[in-house]
Amino acid sequence: MKKLSRTGRKSRKSTALKSPQLLLGIILSGFVLTITFVSFFWTPWDPIGINVEDRLLPPNLSHWFGTDRLGRDLFSQIMVGSQNTLFVALISTILGAVLGTSLGLAAAGSGPRLGAVITRISDIGIALPSILIALVLATTLGPGRLSVIIAISFWFVPVTARVVVGPARQILALDFVEAAMTHGRSRRYILFRQVFPNIAPIVIVQTSMMFAAGILIEASLSFLGVGAQPPTTSWGKILMDSQPLVQQAPYYTILPGAFIVISVLGFNLIGDGLSVLLDPQQSKKGVV
C-alpha cells in the first residue's frame, strides 16, 4: 500500500539552487553581511559626522538614505549600526546553540528523572521572554549590550535544548548506539561522536532561526532604549530617534526598518530552506 504516495513528494533536492527559499535567504543575508563587513573599512560618510545644517534631508544622490535628525548620513548609520546588532545576535546565538545543545544532549542522555527535571527547567526558561529578562537586567546591570546578550541567551539556551532533546533521544534508541554501548564506549563518547553529528542539521537550522530572532530582539530592546547606549548605534536606536519625526521624515523610519526586515527575512529563509532540504517533513516545526 505504501506505493500510493499521495503527496508526490519530490525526492530530496540535491543542490541548494533547487530551493528558492534558501537561495533568496542567502542573497538577502549575504547582502546584509557584506554591508556590515564593508562598514568596518568604509562608509559613504562619517557616521558620527554631525552636520546640523543638513538635517533631515530626504534620500538623494549624495545621501542615499537621507540624513537623520543631526544631519548624519543615514546609510552610514545603518551600516555601522549593523555591526552592533549582528554582533549581539551572533554572540547570543553562539551561546544559545552551544550551551543549549549541550544541555539538550545531557537531558537526552541521562535517566528519565534527571531528563524530566532538565526539560521542566527548560520549559520555565522558555516561558520567560527575553525582553522581560532584559528589562530585569537593565534594572540591575543597567542597559547596554551585556544585558541584552545575557537576556537573549537566557532564552536561546532552553529553546535549543528543547529542540535537541527529542531527536537526540530518538537516536539514542537506535541500534548502532546500543552496539556502541555494549562495546564499552563511554556515554560522552556516544553523545558527541554519534548523536551529535546526526542532530547537527537540526541545530544548524535552529541556529539560523535564532540568529534572525536575535536581530529582532536586539532591535526591539534598542528601540526601547535598553540596548546599546550612545555613542554605539544600532538599528533599533535609529528607529527610536525617528519616532517623533515620523510625519516629517517618513524615510527615516521606513528605510532602517526595511533593512531590519530584509536581514531577519534572509536568515529565516536560510533556516527554512535548510530545514526543507534536510527533511521535507520537518517544515511544521516552526520553533521561534
Binding site: M1, K3, L4, S5, R6, G8
Partner: protein, 273 residues
C-alpha cells in the same frame, strides 16, 4: 452493473494498471486477489475517482449505465456513499479521531438524504444493530480510539451501507484484524450482501479470505488480470502459473464443504446456485 473497459492507470508515463475488461453484475460478489503492488487497490480506487492527483487514468468505467471516468469531483460525490460505497483496510486510521462515532455513521445519510436529525439518529442505531455492535446507544457518543479493531471495522461497514448502495467495495477489510474477528466480519459482509442484493467487490492479498466471500475471482498480477472465473473453477483448476503459485502459498484453503461448516450456513449466490 459495473463495466470496466480498457482501463489504464499510469504515473509519469509508467503504466501501473492495464485492464482490458472486467465487469460485475448487480448483486454479484466479485473477488479481486493479488499480492501487494498488483494494482488491485488502484483499480478499485479509480472506480470512485479516489486516485492520487498525479496519476493518469484512461479508459471507461461504466456504472449503472453512466460513465464515471471524467466526471467532476462534485458529480462523483453524489454517487460516492450513496450508490457505491467503500470500506478501507485500517479502520483505526480511516475514522476521524476527533469525531463521535454516531456522527460519522450518520454522515452519509446527512449528505444524501433529507431525513431529519432524529430520524438519522434512529437509523444509525438500527445500522449499528445490523452490524452486530453491542450497546449502540452507548457507543454512539464514543470516539474511535475507544473501540476495538473489530468494532471499528463494523462501524466502517455500517457507514458504508447506510444509504443502501448497490455496490460495496471492500479493500482488505479484514487484514488489520485478528483471525477470529476476521471470520465474523466476513460473515457479516456475506449476510449484508445477501439481504439487500448488494454487490461486493472484495479486494485482498489473502486468497483464502477472498474465496470465502466471492462467487467470481479475478487474479491480478503486475497490474493485469491474469485469470478470471467462478471461484470453484479458480481454486480447483487454475490455468495460469501465477494462480497456481498463489494457491500453493495458501495451503489452508478449505474446500467448499469445509467452508460452509466454518461459516455456519450455506450462502446462496446471486445466481441462485
Amino acid at each position: 452493473m459495473l463495466e470496466i473497459n480498457n482501463l489504464r492507470i499510469s504515473i509519469a508515463g509508467k503504466t501501473l494498471v492495464k485492464i482490458d475488461h472486467l465487469s460485475a453484475t448487480p448483486g454479484e460478489r466479485l473477488g479481486l486477489v493479488g499480492e501487494s503492488g498488483s494494482g488491485k487497490t488502484l483499480t478499485v480506487l479509480s472506480i470512485l475517482g479516489l486516485l492520487p492527483e498525479m496519476m493518469d487514468v484512461e479508459g471507461s468505467i461504466v456504472f449503472a449505465g453512466k460513465e464515471l471516468l471524467g466526471k467532476s469531483d462534485k458529480e462523483l460525490a453524489k454517487i460516492r456513499g450513496r450508490d457505491i460505497a467503500m470500506v478501507f483496510q485500517d479502520p483505526s486510521r480511516s475514522l476521524n479521531p476527533t469525531m463521535k462515532i454516531g456522527r460519522q455513521i450518520g454522515e452519509s445519510l446527512r449528505l444524501h438524504t433529507d431525513l431529519s436529525k432524529s430520524d438519522i439518529k434512529q437509523k444509525v442505531i438500527e445500522l449499528m444493530h445490523g452490524v452486530q455492535l453491542q450497546d449502540p446507544e452507548k457507543l454512539v457518543t464514543r470516539y474511535p480510539h475507544e473501540l476495538s479493531g473489530g468494532q471499528q471495522q463494523r462501524v466502517m461497514i455500517a457507514m458504508a451501507i447506510s444509504c443502501k448502495p448497490s455496490l460495496l467495495i471492500a479493500d482488505e477489510p479484514t487484514t488489520a484484524l485478528d483471525v477470529t474477528v476476521q471470520q465474523e466480519i466476513l460473515k457479516l459482509l456475506l449476510r449484508l450482501s445477501n439481504e439487500s442484493n448488494m454487490g461486493v467487490i472484495f479486494v485482498s492479498h489473502n486468497l483464502g479470505v477472498v474465496q470465502a466471500v466471492s462467487e467470481r475471482i479475478a487474479v491480478m498480477h503486475n497490474g493485469e488480470i491474469v485469470e478470471l472465473g467462478p471461484t470453484s473453477q479458480i481454486i480447483d483448476s487454475p490455468t495460469v502459473a501465477y494462480t497456481k503459485e498463489l494457491i500453493g502459498a495458501n495451503p489452508s484453503i478449505p474446500s467448499e464443504q469445509e467452508l460452509n461448516r466454518l461459516l455456519g450456513t450455506r450462502f446462496p449466490t446471486s445466481r441462485g446456485e
